[in-house]
């Protein structure tokens, strides 16, 4: 399955993976700066990514636990998912998987203190 990762600087990184590959681990294997702090156990949101349409719609819907964690991800968008919960499938052929862009203004514009 061919996908294109987009790193935090906006650079495109084409990657060829296999059906069943975990998206977080695939990204990490190809040198993308995607953290998996809780090691894919649905206890953090560090592997937050954006999935292009129409690929997003073809994915199985997130379970409630993933939705709860997405609520905590900065720069949440309609097409946000947790990378550790996604596996490559033919449905993702040609998908763009983008890492959130943390611009220097991130903490000035629209930064809302998060609970802990």
């Amino acid at each position: 399955v061919n996908v294109v990762f987009v790193d935090r600087e906006g650079r495109q990184v084409p990657v060829r993976g296999r059906v069943g590959d975990n998206v977080l681990h695939l990204a990490q294997r190809h040198g993308l700066e995607l953290e998996g702090a809780c090691e894919a156990s649905l206890a953090c949101s560090t592997c937050h990514v954006y999935i292009s349409e129409p690929h997003l719609a073809r994915l199985p819907a997130p379970e409630e636990r993933e939705e709860d964690l997405l609520d905590q991800a900065p720069l949440l968008q309609e097409n946000s998912r947790l990378g550790c919960q996604l596996r490559l499938s033919p449905a993702l052929e040609g998908a763009r998987i983008a890492l959130p862009r943390l611009t220097r203004n991130f903490y000035v514009d629209g930064h809302v203190p998060k609970p802990h």
Binding site: S41, A43, P74, L102
Partner: protein, 456 residues
């Protein structure tokens, strides 16, 4: 370039990781005041949240990398000063977090039976300085002041079935105390309303689903809120909808016997109550309740303010936990500190007015946020530092000796640092001790014992 990081929690480690990854020649030394690393991941994250602690594996990889040094048992500001570190390193990053807590500032706050949430969490998580807390759990009702995730953590630990806690890395002594606990009712009390709660949905759901405990939420508190959150942000909307749903649900028959409790335990949320005074018992020797000022809300959303209405209410309880926020302390006279905001004044992690000094984590932004927030923030500071290296703002032409210089300073002061492989011996001892009890580890809570294990 030689970089020094003060603090080995998530902020310290993520800042170090980012610098090491993006600069092939940088050498980074992490200093920590305790003999053991990882800060709040070890001492703050609840014992029943082991997956959150997986991040220590990432930190361990960083610590083991050739260009990273770890020096535990070194208190910066006492054993070595920040100016001395600035002599030894090209750049110093302060990531020492928030070791104190905000105070209520009300009469009776110092009565026996009143504790800060920070100290209580430190107690059950094995933080050495809180081991002598000896919280009195002999009352039936506990009040937790605050509506954040720390408040929920404490409520959950107080009401969790013992057989669940027994399998975690909660300390043996706190487990023994909880086994004798009479606490069966916990109220989380906040000054503002349901739309201002600071806890998050994952933790709330966990509380709602806690075996052997039922949620007591008053539907009247949630009147009209369904429509109020129609246009709110997704997290706020989902969280409020869950509270409303829980308030309107009929209580489910709890399998009290299965949970090992004589009668179901209960917990609830109280809103728009601001603590005025902790009331003493008749003999004046302990807390017996809290007098609350009832409030109304002015404004809406995150910036809504709680204004006392003049009405008061007394809530009876024997245990009061104040969960109103952590707080950073100033480290060294050489480091500017904004005591009002409790942070080091900075711009993108560059400490104002002090070239070569940076900060990351809670001491930079204030004490809120989960691991992802601190991670992003640490990368932001690391970026500033890397930019300054690249742009020549950080002058690396003078040679700096790094730990070579600090070592002789520490030696002259009788301080013996703990290395990362020393920590790994302590780690192995804790895991071995835990194995017998079916726990991931049995934390060692006495620093002297830690030092004995490593032969210091």
């Amino acid at each position: 370039p030689r970089v020094c990081v003060v603090g080995s929690g998530p902020a310290g480690f993520y800042t170090a990781q980012h610098i090491l990854k993006h600069h092939g020649g940088a050498l980074v030394d992490i200093y920590e005041k305790l003999p053991v690393p990882f800060g709040l991941v070890r001492f703050g994250v609840a014992p029943d949240h082991p997956e959150v602690k997986n991040v220590t594996n990432t930190f361990t990889q960083t610590a083991r990398s050739g260009r990273c040094g770890f020096y535990g048992n070194v208190t910066v500001g006492r054993d070595v000063t920040v100016p001395e570190l600035q002599q030894a390193y090209h750049a110093v990053v302060l990531s020492y977090g928030a070791e104190d807590n905000r105070v209520l500032g009300i009469p009776g706050e110092n009565l026996p039976g009143v504790y800060s949430a920070r100290a209580f969490v430190g107690w059950y998580n094995g933080l050495p300085e809180n081991q002598d807390l000896k919280p009195d759990l002999s009352c039936e009702t506990a009040l937790i002041l605050g509506h954040g995730n720390v408040a929920l953590d404490i409520a959950r630990i107080l009401l969790s079935p013992l057989q669940l806690l027994r399998k975690t890395d909660i300390t043996d002594s706190s487990l023994a105390a909880l086994a004798c606990s009479k606490v069966k009712r916990v109220w989380l009390v906040g000054r503002r309303g349901p739309l201002q709660v600071a806890f998050t949905i994952k933790e709330l759901r966990e509380m709602i689903n806690l075996p052997g405990a039922r949620a007591v939420l008053d539907p009247a508190d949630f009147k009209g809120l369904e429509s109020a959150v129609k246009d709110a942000s997704r997290p706020r909307k989902r969280l409020t909808e869950l509270m409303i749903k829980t308030a309107l649900e009929k209580p489910v028959e709890m399998q009290a016997a299965a949970a090992g409790a004589a009668a179901p335990r209960e917990w609830g949320l109280k809103f728009q109550r601001s603590p005025q005074e902790v009331l003493p018992s008749a003999d004046g020797r302990r807390a017996r309740g809290v007098r609350m000022a009832l409030t109304r809300l002015e404004g809406s959303g995150d910036s809504a303010k709680a204004i006392p209405t003049g009405d008061v209410e007394e809530l009876e309880c024997g245990l009061v936990l104040s969960s109103i926020g952590y707080r950073s302390l100033p480290l060294d006279p050489a480091v500017p500190f904004d005591s009002q905001r409790g942070v080091i004044p900075n711009s993108s992690g560059r400490v104002e007015g002090v070239p070569g000094l940076y900060c990351s984590g809670w001491v930079k932004r204030g004490p809120t946020g989960v691991i992802i927030t601190t991670m992003n923030d640490s990368f932001d500071t690391a970026q500033s530092l890397l930019e300054d290296l690249q742009g020549g703002v950080l002058d690396i032409s003078p040679s700096r000796e790094g730990f070579g210089l600090v070592e002789s300073i520490l030696h002259s002061r009788g301080v013996r640092p703990v290395s990362f492989s020393d920590w790994e011996k302590i780690d192995a001892a804790e895991v071995a001790r835990g194995k017998a009890a079916g726990k991931p580890r049995e934390k060692i809570v006495d620093p002297a014992e830690m030092l004995r294990i490593i032969g210091h």
